[in-house]
Symmetry: C2
Subunit: 240 residues, 2 copies
Amino acid sequence: MIVPDGGPLYLRVKDVIVKRIVDEVWRPGGLLPSEQKLAAELGVSPGTVRKALNELTAENLLYRQQGKGTFVASHTPQRSLFHFFKMTAADGKRQPATSRLLACARRRANREEAGRLDLPAQSRVVEIERIRELGGSPQILERILVPAKLFPNLGKSSDGELPNELYVFYEERYGITIYRANENLRAIAATAEQAKLLGLKAGAPLLEIDRTAITLDGRPVEWRVSLCDTRNCHYVSELI
Amino acid sequence: MIVPDGGPLYLRVKDVIVKRIVDEVWRPGGLLPSEQKLAAELGVSPGTVRKALNELTAENLLYRQQGKGTFVASHTPQRSLFHFFKMTAADGKRQPATSRLLACARRRANREEAGRLDLPAQSRVVEIERIRELGGSPQILERILVPAKLFPNLGKSSDGELPNELYVFYEERYGITIYRANENLRAIAATAEQAKLLGLKAGAPLLEIDRTAITLDGRPVEWRVSLCDTRNCHYVSELI
DNA sequence: GAGTGGTCTAGACCACGCT
DNA sequence: GCGTGGTCTAGACCACTCT
Protein backbone atom coordinates (compact mmCIF):
# COMPACT_ATOMS: atom_id res chain seq x y z
CA MET A 1 0.00 0.00 0.00
CA ILE A 2 1.42 3.35 -1.05
CA VAL A 3 -0.46 5.55 1.39
CA PRO A 4 1.33 6.28 4.70
CA ASP A 5 0.47 4.55 7.95
CA GLY A 6 -1.80 5.67 10.75
CA GLY A 7 -5.45 6.54 11.08
CA PRO A 8 -8.39 5.78 8.80
CA LEU A 9 -7.43 4.86 5.27
CA TYR A 10 -9.61 7.45 3.55
CA LEU A 11 -7.94 10.24 5.56
CA ARG A 12 -4.55 9.03 4.45
CA VAL A 13 -5.81 9.01 0.87
CA LYS A 14 -6.98 12.60 1.38
CA ASP A 15 -3.51 13.57 2.57
CA VAL A 16 -1.92 11.99 -0.49
CA ILE A 17 -4.24 13.94 -2.79
CA VAL A 18 -3.70 17.24 -0.95
CA LYS A 19 0.05 16.70 -1.05
CA ARG A 20 -0.05 16.23 -4.81
CA ILE A 21 -1.98 19.46 -5.26
CA VAL A 22 0.48 21.32 -3.01
CA ASP A 23 3.37 19.82 -4.98
CA GLU A 24 1.64 20.86 -8.19
CA VAL A 25 1.47 17.32 -9.54
CA TRP A 26 -2.12 18.33 -10.26
CA ARG A 27 -2.64 22.06 -10.86
CA PRO A 28 -5.74 24.24 -10.36
CA GLY A 29 -8.25 23.53 -13.08
CA GLY A 30 -6.52 20.24 -13.92
CA LEU A 31 -8.12 16.84 -14.22
CA LEU A 32 -7.45 14.10 -11.68
CA PRO A 33 -7.27 10.42 -12.62
CA SER A 34 -10.59 8.61 -12.38
CA GLU A 35 -11.66 6.98 -9.13
CA GLN A 36 -10.80 3.55 -10.46
CA LYS A 37 -7.32 4.52 -11.58
CA LEU A 38 -6.59 6.27 -8.29
CA ALA A 39 -7.87 3.28 -6.35
CA ALA A 40 -5.73 0.89 -8.38
CA GLU A 41 -2.65 3.10 -8.06
CA LEU A 42 -3.00 3.54 -4.30
CA GLY A 43 -4.03 -0.06 -3.68
CA VAL A 44 -7.32 0.75 -1.96
CA SER A 45 -10.90 0.10 -2.89
CA PRO A 46 -12.80 2.56 -5.10
CA GLY A 47 -15.23 3.33 -2.28
CA THR A 48 -12.40 4.59 -0.09
CA VAL A 49 -11.10 6.89 -2.83
CA ARG A 50 -14.65 8.10 -3.39
CA LYS A 51 -15.04 9.04 0.26
CA ALA A 52 -11.78 11.00 0.19
CA LEU A 53 -12.70 12.79 -3.04
CA ASN A 54 -16.16 13.67 -1.74
CA GLU A 55 -14.79 15.21 1.44
CA LEU A 56 -12.28 17.26 -0.53
CA THR A 57 -15.10 18.39 -2.79
CA ALA A 58 -17.12 19.46 0.26
CA GLU A 59 -14.09 21.50 1.37
CA ASN A 60 -14.02 23.33 -1.98
CA LEU A 61 -10.65 21.88 -2.85
CA LEU A 62 -11.95 19.83 -5.76
CA TYR A 63 -15.03 19.89 -7.90
CA ARG A 64 -16.62 16.99 -9.72
CA GLN A 65 -18.65 16.82 -12.90
CA GLN A 66 -20.62 13.75 -13.74
CA GLY A 67 -19.45 12.27 -17.01
CA LYS A 68 -16.29 14.42 -17.11
CA GLY A 69 -14.18 13.82 -14.06
CA THR A 70 -12.72 15.36 -10.91
CA PHE A 71 -10.84 18.68 -11.11
CA VAL A 72 -8.68 20.77 -8.82
CA ALA A 73 -10.64 23.88 -7.82
CA SER A 74 -9.38 27.17 -9.25
CA HIS A 75 -10.28 30.83 -8.93
CA THR A 76 -12.63 31.94 -11.64
CA PRO A 77 -14.08 35.43 -11.31
CA GLN A 78 -17.33 33.77 -10.23
CA ARG A 79 -15.86 31.58 -7.53
CA SER A 80 -13.71 34.37 -6.18
CA LEU A 81 -16.67 36.68 -6.11
CA PHE A 82 -19.02 34.33 -4.35
CA HIS A 83 -16.65 32.76 -1.87
CA PHE A 84 -14.49 35.64 -0.79
CA PHE A 85 -16.50 38.78 -1.32
CA LYS A 86 -19.32 38.97 1.17
CA MET A 87 -20.38 42.58 0.63
CA THR A 88 -23.78 42.93 -0.99
CA ALA A 89 -25.66 46.03 -2.06
CA ALA A 90 -28.52 47.00 0.24
CA ASP A 91 -31.05 46.23 -2.49
CA GLY A 92 -29.60 42.73 -2.87
CA LYS A 93 -28.30 43.30 -6.39
CA ARG A 94 -24.76 42.30 -7.15
CA GLN A 95 -23.29 45.23 -8.95
CA PRO A 96 -20.10 44.95 -10.96
CA ALA A 97 -17.31 46.19 -8.74
CA THR A 98 -14.53 48.30 -10.22
CA SER A 99 -11.35 49.36 -8.53
CA ARG A 100 -9.03 52.36 -8.74
CA LEU A 101 -5.38 51.85 -7.80
CA LEU A 102 -3.94 54.41 -5.39
CA ALA A 103 -0.51 52.89 -4.82
CA CYS A 104 1.46 49.71 -5.41
CA ALA A 105 5.00 49.62 -4.09
CA ARG A 106 7.64 47.39 -2.52
CA ARG A 107 9.02 48.15 0.92
CA ARG A 108 10.15 46.45 4.12
CA ALA A 109 7.62 45.03 6.57
CA ASN A 110 7.37 46.39 10.08
CA ARG A 111 7.06 44.06 13.03
CA GLU A 112 3.30 43.64 12.98
CA GLU A 113 3.20 43.11 9.24
CA ALA A 114 5.94 40.48 9.30
CA GLY A 115 4.09 38.71 12.09
CA ARG A 116 0.83 38.70 10.20
CA LEU A 117 2.44 37.19 7.10
CA ASP A 118 4.66 34.83 9.10
CA LEU A 119 7.80 36.36 7.60
CA PRO A 120 11.23 37.13 9.10
CA ALA A 121 11.56 40.69 10.42
CA GLN A 122 12.31 43.34 7.81
CA SER A 123 11.22 41.12 4.91
CA ARG A 124 10.24 42.82 1.69
CA VAL A 125 6.54 43.13 1.02
CA VAL A 126 4.34 44.65 -1.65
CA GLU A 127 1.72 47.10 -0.50
CA ILE A 128 -1.31 47.81 -2.63
CA GLU A 129 -3.81 50.53 -1.91
CA ARG A 130 -6.98 50.89 -3.88
CA ILE A 131 -10.55 52.04 -3.79
CA ARG A 132 -13.36 49.77 -4.90
CA GLU A 133 -16.52 51.24 -6.26
CA LEU A 134 -19.93 49.66 -6.18
CA GLY A 135 -22.47 51.20 -8.48
CA GLY A 136 -20.28 54.16 -9.36
CA SER A 137 -19.46 55.61 -5.95
CA PRO A 138 -16.41 54.72 -3.85
CA GLN A 139 -17.36 52.36 -1.08
CA ILE A 140 -14.32 50.36 -0.01
CA LEU A 141 -10.79 51.52 0.80
CA GLU A 142 -8.36 48.59 0.76
CA ARG A 143 -4.80 48.11 1.90
CA ILE A 144 -3.28 44.81 0.77
CA LEU A 145 0.06 43.37 1.84
CA VAL A 146 1.77 40.35 0.28
CA PRO A 147 5.30 38.92 0.58
CA ALA A 148 7.48 40.32 -2.22
CA LYS A 149 9.29 37.02 -2.55
CA LEU A 150 6.17 35.21 -3.73
CA PHE A 151 5.17 37.97 -6.15
CA PRO A 152 8.40 38.63 -8.07
CA ASN A 153 7.63 41.57 -10.30
CA LEU A 154 4.58 42.99 -8.61
CA GLY A 155 5.08 46.64 -7.71
CA LYS A 156 8.46 46.95 -9.45
CA SER A 157 7.41 47.95 -12.90
CA SER A 158 4.59 50.41 -12.51
CA ASP A 159 1.77 48.05 -13.39
CA GLY A 160 -0.85 50.69 -13.87
CA GLU A 161 -3.51 48.06 -14.04
CA LEU A 162 -4.40 45.42 -11.53
CA PRO A 163 -7.50 43.29 -12.03
CA ASN A 164 -10.40 43.74 -9.68
CA GLU A 165 -10.36 40.08 -8.66
CA LEU A 166 -6.88 39.69 -7.23
CA TYR A 167 -7.15 35.99 -6.38
CA VAL A 168 -7.63 35.06 -10.02
CA PHE A 169 -4.56 37.16 -10.76
CA TYR A 170 -2.48 35.59 -7.96
CA GLU A 171 -3.26 32.16 -9.33
CA GLU A 172 -2.74 32.81 -13.03
CA ARG A 173 0.31 35.03 -12.72
CA TYR A 174 2.11 33.70 -9.67
CA GLY A 175 0.71 30.20 -9.17
CA ILE A 176 -0.59 31.09 -5.72
CA THR A 177 -4.04 29.79 -4.89
CA ILE A 178 -5.96 31.13 -1.91
CA TYR A 179 -8.01 28.39 -0.27
CA ARG A 180 -9.22 29.93 2.95
CA ALA A 181 -9.42 33.25 4.74
CA ASN A 182 -10.12 34.44 8.26
CA GLU A 183 -11.88 37.74 8.68
CA ASN A 184 -12.26 39.88 11.79
CA LEU A 185 -14.85 42.66 11.63
CA ARG A 186 -15.03 45.90 13.57
CA ALA A 187 -16.69 49.28 13.36
CA ILE A 188 -14.27 52.20 13.38
CA ALA A 189 -14.40 55.95 12.84
CA ALA A 190 -12.92 57.23 9.58
CA THR A 191 -9.77 59.33 9.82
CA ALA A 192 -9.71 62.59 7.90
CA GLU A 193 -7.65 61.01 5.15
CA GLN A 194 -9.82 57.92 4.84
CA ALA A 195 -12.96 60.02 4.86
CA LYS A 196 -11.67 62.19 2.07
CA LEU A 197 -10.89 59.23 -0.16
CA LEU A 198 -14.35 57.79 0.37
CA GLY A 199 -16.18 61.10 0.09
CA LEU A 200 -17.30 61.11 3.73
CA LYS A 201 -16.89 63.32 6.76
CA ALA A 202 -14.14 62.55 9.24
CA GLY A 203 -15.41 60.32 12.03
CA ALA A 204 -17.98 58.59 9.82
CA PRO A 205 -18.51 54.95 10.83
CA LEU A 206 -16.73 52.40 8.65
CA LEU A 207 -16.82 48.62 8.65
CA GLU A 208 -13.27 47.33 8.98
CA ILE A 209 -12.64 43.86 7.56
CA ASP A 210 -9.26 42.51 8.63
CA ARG A 211 -8.50 39.44 6.50
CA THR A 212 -5.70 36.91 6.48
CA ALA A 213 -5.75 34.71 3.38
CA ILE A 214 -3.98 31.36 3.44
CA THR A 215 -2.92 28.79 0.89
CA LEU A 216 -3.57 25.07 0.89
CA ASP A 217 -0.49 24.34 2.97
CA GLY A 218 -1.64 26.81 5.59
CA ARG A 219 0.79 29.67 4.94
CA PRO A 220 -0.62 33.20 5.18
CA VAL A 221 0.11 34.99 1.90
CA GLU A 222 -2.05 38.09 2.09
CA TRP A 223 -3.05 40.53 4.79
CA ARG A 224 -5.87 42.78 3.70
CA VAL A 225 -7.70 45.50 5.57
CA SER A 226 -10.86 46.78 3.89
CA LEU A 227 -12.71 49.85 5.14
CA CYS A 228 -16.28 49.89 3.92
CA ASP A 229 -18.86 52.63 3.74
CA THR A 230 -21.92 50.56 4.63
CA ARG A 231 -24.65 53.09 4.00
CA ASN A 232 -25.56 51.32 0.77
CA CYS A 233 -24.21 47.82 1.29
CA HIS A 234 -23.66 45.26 4.01
CA TYR A 235 -21.65 42.19 4.90
CA VAL A 236 -23.57 38.93 4.68
CA SER A 237 -22.95 36.00 7.01
CA GLU A 238 -24.93 32.78 7.19
CA LEU A 239 -24.85 30.79 10.41
CA ILE A 240 -25.66 27.10 10.24
CA MET B 1 -41.27 1.45 0.07
CA ILE B 2 -42.44 4.02 2.59
CA VAL B 3 -40.36 6.96 1.41
CA PRO B 4 -42.07 9.26 -1.14
CA ASP B 5 -41.31 9.21 -4.85
CA GLY B 6 -38.93 11.33 -6.86
CA GLY B 7 -35.22 11.97 -6.86
CA PRO B 8 -32.38 10.05 -5.25
CA LEU B 9 -33.42 7.66 -2.51
CA TYR B 10 -31.10 9.03 0.15
CA LEU B 11 -32.55 12.54 -0.30
CA ARG B 12 -36.03 11.17 0.19
CA VAL B 13 -34.83 9.40 3.32
CA LYS B 14 -33.41 12.74 4.52
CA ASP B 15 -36.79 14.38 3.97
CA VAL B 16 -38.53 11.67 5.98
CA ILE B 17 -36.12 12.19 8.87
CA VAL B 18 -36.42 15.99 8.77
CA LYS B 19 -40.20 15.72 8.69
CA ARG B 20 -40.19 13.56 11.78
CA ILE B 21 -38.06 16.07 13.63
CA VAL B 22 -40.36 18.92 12.55
CA ASP B 23 -43.37 16.87 13.65
CA GLU B 24 -41.62 16.18 16.94
CA VAL B 25 -41.68 12.42 16.52
CA TRP B 26 -38.05 12.77 17.55
CA ARG B 27 -37.31 15.76 19.78
CA PRO B 28 -34.07 17.71 20.29
CA GLY B 29 -31.65 15.67 22.34
CA GLY B 30 -33.61 12.48 21.61
CA LEU B 31 -32.23 9.21 20.28
CA LEU B 32 -33.05 8.01 16.77
CA PRO B 33 -33.48 4.33 15.90
CA SER B 34 -30.30 2.61 14.80
CA GLU B 35 -29.27 2.61 11.15
CA GLN B 36 -30.37 -0.98 10.76
CA LYS B 37 -33.80 -0.42 12.26
CA LEU B 38 -34.36 2.71 10.17
CA ALA B 39 -33.26 0.88 7.04
CA ALA B 40 -35.58 -2.02 7.77
CA GLU B 41 -38.50 0.27 8.57
CA LEU B 42 -38.06 2.38 5.43
CA GLY B 43 -37.28 -0.57 3.21
CA VAL B 44 -33.90 0.70 1.98
CA SER B 45 -30.38 -0.55 2.45
CA PRO B 46 -28.37 0.49 5.51
CA GLY B 47 -25.85 2.32 3.30
CA THR B 48 -28.56 4.63 2.02
CA VAL B 49 -29.74 5.47 5.53
CA ARG B 50 -26.13 6.04 6.52
CA LYS B 51 -25.62 8.55 3.72
CA ALA B 52 -28.75 10.46 4.74
CA LEU B 53 -27.74 10.49 8.42
CA ASN B 54 -24.22 11.63 7.61
CA GLU B 55 -25.45 14.56 5.53
CA LEU B 56 -27.85 15.64 8.26
CA THR B 57 -24.99 15.40 10.74
CA ALA B 58 -22.87 17.62 8.50
CA GLU B 59 -25.74 20.14 8.49
CA ASN B 60 -25.74 20.21 12.32
CA LEU B 61 -29.22 18.76 12.49
CA LEU B 62 -28.08 15.51 14.09
CA TYR B 63 -25.04 14.36 15.96
CA ARG B 64 -23.68 10.85 16.22
CA GLN B 65 -21.73 9.08 18.92
CA GLN B 66 -20.00 5.84 18.25
CA GLY B 67 -21.32 3.12 20.47
CA LYS B 68 -24.32 5.19 21.61
CA GLY B 69 -26.41 6.22 18.66
CA THR B 70 -27.71 9.12 16.59
CA PHE B 71 -29.35 12.09 18.32
CA VAL B 72 -31.33 15.15 17.29
CA ALA B 73 -29.17 18.23 17.81
CA SER B 74 -30.24 20.57 20.58
CA HIS B 75 -29.09 23.89 21.97
CA THR B 76 -26.73 23.46 24.84
CA PRO B 77 -25.03 26.59 26.15
CA GLN B 78 -21.89 25.39 24.35
CA ARG B 79 -23.46 24.79 20.98
CA SER B 80 -25.40 28.04 21.10
CA LEU B 81 -22.29 29.90 22.04
CA PHE B 82 -20.10 28.47 19.34
CA HIS B 83 -22.53 28.44 16.47
CA PHE B 84 -24.47 31.63 16.88
CA PHE B 85 -22.28 34.02 18.77
CA LYS B 86 -19.39 35.16 16.63
CA MET B 87 -18.10 38.01 18.76
CA THR B 88 -14.71 37.34 20.30
CA ALA B 89 -12.64 39.46 22.65
CA ALA B 90 -9.69 41.19 21.02
CA ASP B 91 -7.25 39.04 23.02
CA GLY B 92 -8.95 35.90 21.74
CA LYS B 93 -10.27 34.85 25.14
CA ARG B 94 -13.88 33.85 25.42
CA GLN B 95 -15.17 35.70 28.42
CA PRO B 96 -18.41 34.73 30.12
CA ALA B 97 -21.08 37.06 28.79
CA THR B 98 -23.71 38.41 31.14
CA SER B 99 -26.79 40.36 30.20
CA ARG B 100 -28.92 43.05 31.82
CA LEU B 101 -32.57 43.28 30.81
CA LEU B 102 -33.81 46.77 29.90
CA ALA B 103 -37.32 45.93 28.74
CA CYS B 104 -39.52 42.98 27.82
CA ALA B 105 -43.04 43.75 26.66
CA ARG B 106 -45.77 42.70 24.27
CA ARG B 107 -47.06 45.09 21.63
CA ARG B 108 -48.26 45.13 18.02
CA ALA B 109 -45.79 44.85 15.15
CA ASN B 110 -45.39 47.64 12.66
CA ARG B 111 -45.20 46.95 8.94
CA GLU B 112 -41.48 46.30 8.75
CA GLU B 113 -41.46 44.08 11.80
CA ALA B 114 -44.38 41.98 10.57
CA GLY B 115 -42.61 41.59 7.24
CA ARG B 116 -39.38 40.48 8.86
CA LEU B 117 -41.13 37.81 10.93
CA ASP B 118 -43.47 36.80 8.11
CA LEU B 119 -46.54 37.67 10.20
CA PRO B 120 -49.88 39.30 9.30
CA ALA B 121 -49.96 43.06 9.80
CA GLN B 122 -50.56 44.23 13.35
CA SER B 123 -49.67 40.87 14.87
CA ARG B 124 -48.64 40.79 18.49
CA VAL B 125 -44.94 40.51 19.16
CA VAL B 126 -42.68 40.47 22.20
CA GLU B 127 -39.87 43.00 22.27
CA ILE B 128 -36.84 42.41 24.42
CA GLU B 129 -34.14 44.98 25.00
CA ARG B 130 -30.99 44.17 26.85
CA ILE B 131 -27.34 44.97 27.26
CA ARG B 132 -24.71 42.27 27.13
CA GLU B 133 -21.48 42.70 28.95
CA LEU B 134 -18.16 41.13 28.10
CA GLY B 135 -15.57 41.24 30.80
CA GLY B 136 -17.57 43.59 33.01
CA SER B 137 -18.22 46.51 30.69
CA PRO B 138 -21.31 46.91 28.46
CA GLN B 139 -20.48 46.04 24.88
CA ILE B 140 -23.64 44.99 23.04
CA LEU B 141 -27.06 46.63 22.94
CA GLU B 142 -29.69 44.20 21.67
CA ARG B 143 -33.27 44.56 20.49
CA ILE B 144 -35.01 41.21 19.98
CA LEU B 145 -38.42 40.68 18.42
CA VAL B 146 -40.35 37.39 18.43
CA PRO B 147 -43.98 36.51 17.57
CA ALA B 148 -46.10 36.60 20.74
CA LYS B 149 -48.14 33.65 19.52
CA LEU B 150 -45.17 31.29 19.68
CA PHE B 151 -44.01 32.54 23.08
CA PRO B 152 -47.22 32.44 25.15
CA ASN B 153 -46.31 33.98 28.47
CA LEU B 154 -43.13 35.79 27.57
CA GLY B 155 -43.37 39.46 28.49
CA LYS B 156 -46.73 39.15 30.24
CA SER B 157 -45.69 38.40 33.72
CA SER B 158 -42.71 40.52 34.46
CA ASP B 159 -40.05 37.86 34.10
CA GLY B 160 -37.29 39.76 35.72
CA GLU B 161 -34.80 37.18 34.61
CA LEU B 162 -34.03 35.96 31.14
CA PRO B 163 -31.10 33.63 30.56
CA ASN B 164 -28.14 34.92 28.63
CA GLU B 165 -28.41 32.18 26.02
CA LEU B 166 -31.88 32.74 24.63
CA TYR B 167 -31.85 29.85 22.16
CA VAL B 168 -31.50 27.31 24.94
CA PHE B 169 -34.45 29.03 26.63
CA TYR B 170 -36.56 29.07 23.44
CA GLU B 171 -36.05 25.34 23.05
CA GLU B 172 -36.58 24.25 26.65
CA ARG B 173 -39.46 26.56 27.46
CA TYR B 174 -41.31 26.92 24.15
CA GLY B 175 -40.13 23.96 22.06
CA ILE B 176 -38.72 26.26 19.40
CA THR B 177 -35.35 25.26 18.01
CA ILE B 178 -33.30 27.70 15.96
CA TYR B 179 -31.41 25.90 13.21
CA ARG B 180 -30.06 28.69 11.03
CA ALA B 181 -29.61 32.42 11.00
CA ASN B 182 -28.78 35.07 8.42
CA GLU B 183 -26.79 38.06 9.55
CA ASN B 184 -26.22 41.38 7.79
CA LEU B 185 -23.45 43.57 9.17
CA ARG B 186 -23.02 47.33 8.95
CA ALA B 187 -21.14 50.10 10.68
CA ILE B 188 -23.36 52.86 12.08
CA ALA B 189 -22.99 55.89 14.30
CA ALA B 190 -24.44 55.62 17.79
CA THR B 191 -27.42 57.81 18.61
CA ALA B 192 -27.29 59.80 21.83
CA GLU B 193 -29.49 57.26 23.56
CA GLN B 194 -27.54 54.23 22.36
CA ALA B 195 -24.26 55.89 23.26
CA LYS B 196 -25.46 56.60 26.79
CA LEU B 197 -26.47 52.99 27.38
CA LEU B 198 -23.10 51.73 26.20
CA GLY B 199 -21.06 54.39 27.93
CA LEU B 200 -19.89 56.02 24.70
CA LYS B 201 -20.09 59.40 23.05
CA ALA B 202 -22.85 60.06 20.54
CA GLY B 203 -21.68 59.31 17.02
CA ALA B 204 -19.29 56.58 18.12
CA PRO B 205 -18.99 53.80 15.53
CA LEU B 206 -20.97 50.65 16.30
CA LEU B 207 -21.13 47.32 14.54
CA GLU B 208 -24.76 46.58 13.72
CA ILE B 209 -25.65 42.90 13.37
CA ASP B 210 -29.08 42.41 11.85
CA ARG B 211 -30.08 38.78 12.31
CA THR B 212 -33.05 36.73 11.21
CA ALA B 213 -33.20 33.34 12.92
CA ILE B 214 -35.20 30.53 11.37
CA THR B 215 -36.45 27.13 12.46
CA LEU B 216 -36.03 23.80 10.72
CA ASP B 217 -39.13 24.32 8.60
CA GLY B 218 -37.78 27.66 7.39
CA ARG B 219 -40.02 30.04 9.33
CA PRO B 220 -38.39 33.19 10.75
CA VAL B 221 -39.04 33.31 14.49
CA GLU B 222 -36.68 35.97 15.71
CA TRP B 223 -35.48 39.32 14.44
CA ARG B 224 -32.53 40.60 16.40
CA VAL B 225 -30.49 43.75 15.98
CA SER B 226 -27.29 43.89 18.00
CA LEU B 227 -25.21 47.05 18.29
CA CYS B 228 -21.66 46.27 19.33
CA ASP B 229 -18.90 48.43 20.71
CA THR B 230 -15.98 46.81 18.92
CA ARG B 231 -13.09 48.57 20.59
CA ASN B 232 -12.35 45.44 22.62
CA CYS B 233 -13.92 42.68 20.56
CA HIS B 234 -14.60 41.73 16.98
CA TYR B 235 -16.80 39.57 14.79
CA VAL B 236 -15.11 36.46 13.43
CA SER B 237 -15.89 35.00 10.02
CA GLU B 238 -14.14 32.10 8.32
CA LEU B 239 -14.29 31.86 4.56
CA ILE B 240 -13.71 28.45 3.02
C1' DG C 1 -21.52 -9.69 25.39
C1' DA C 2 -24.76 -7.02 22.86
C1' DG C 3 -25.62 -3.00 20.32
C1' DT C 4 -24.06 1.11 18.19
C1' DG C 5 -21.74 3.90 14.69
C1' DG C 6 -17.10 4.01 11.75
C1' DT C 7 -14.46 1.95 8.14
C1' DC C 8 -13.48 -0.80 4.15
C1' DT C 9 -14.62 -3.61 0.51
C1' DA C 10 -17.09 -5.24 -3.87
C1' DG C 11 -20.15 -4.93 -7.41
C1' DA C 12 -24.45 -3.46 -10.09
C1' DC C 13 -26.87 -0.03 -12.39
C1' DC C 14 -27.93 4.86 -13.82
C1' DA C 15 -27.11 9.69 -15.75
C1' DC C 16 -24.14 12.44 -18.11
C1' DG C 17 -20.43 14.21 -21.58
C1' DC C 18 -17.93 13.24 -25.36
C1' DT C 19 -16.73 11.43 -29.94
C1' DG D 1 -20.19 3.38 -27.38
C1' DC D 2 -17.18 4.44 -23.88
C1' DG D 3 -15.58 6.49 -19.72
C1' DT D 4 -16.92 9.35 -16.02
C1' DG D 5 -19.05 10.29 -11.55
C1' DG D 6 -23.74 9.34 -8.83
C1' DT D 7 -26.60 6.03 -6.55
C1' DC D 8 -27.81 1.80 -4.28
C1' DT D 9 -26.93 -2.46 -2.37
C1' DA D 10 -24.68 -6.11 0.71
C1' DG D 11 -21.67 -7.65 3.94
C1' DA D 12 -17.31 -7.93 6.90
C1' DC D 13 -14.71 -6.14 10.50
C1' DC D 14 -13.35 -2.60 14.04
C1' DA D 15 -13.93 0.78 18.01
C1' DC D 16 -16.72 2.39 21.32
C1' DT D 17 -20.45 2.42 25.18
C1' DC D 18 -23.10 0.34 28.42
C1' DT D 19 -24.70 -3.47 31.37
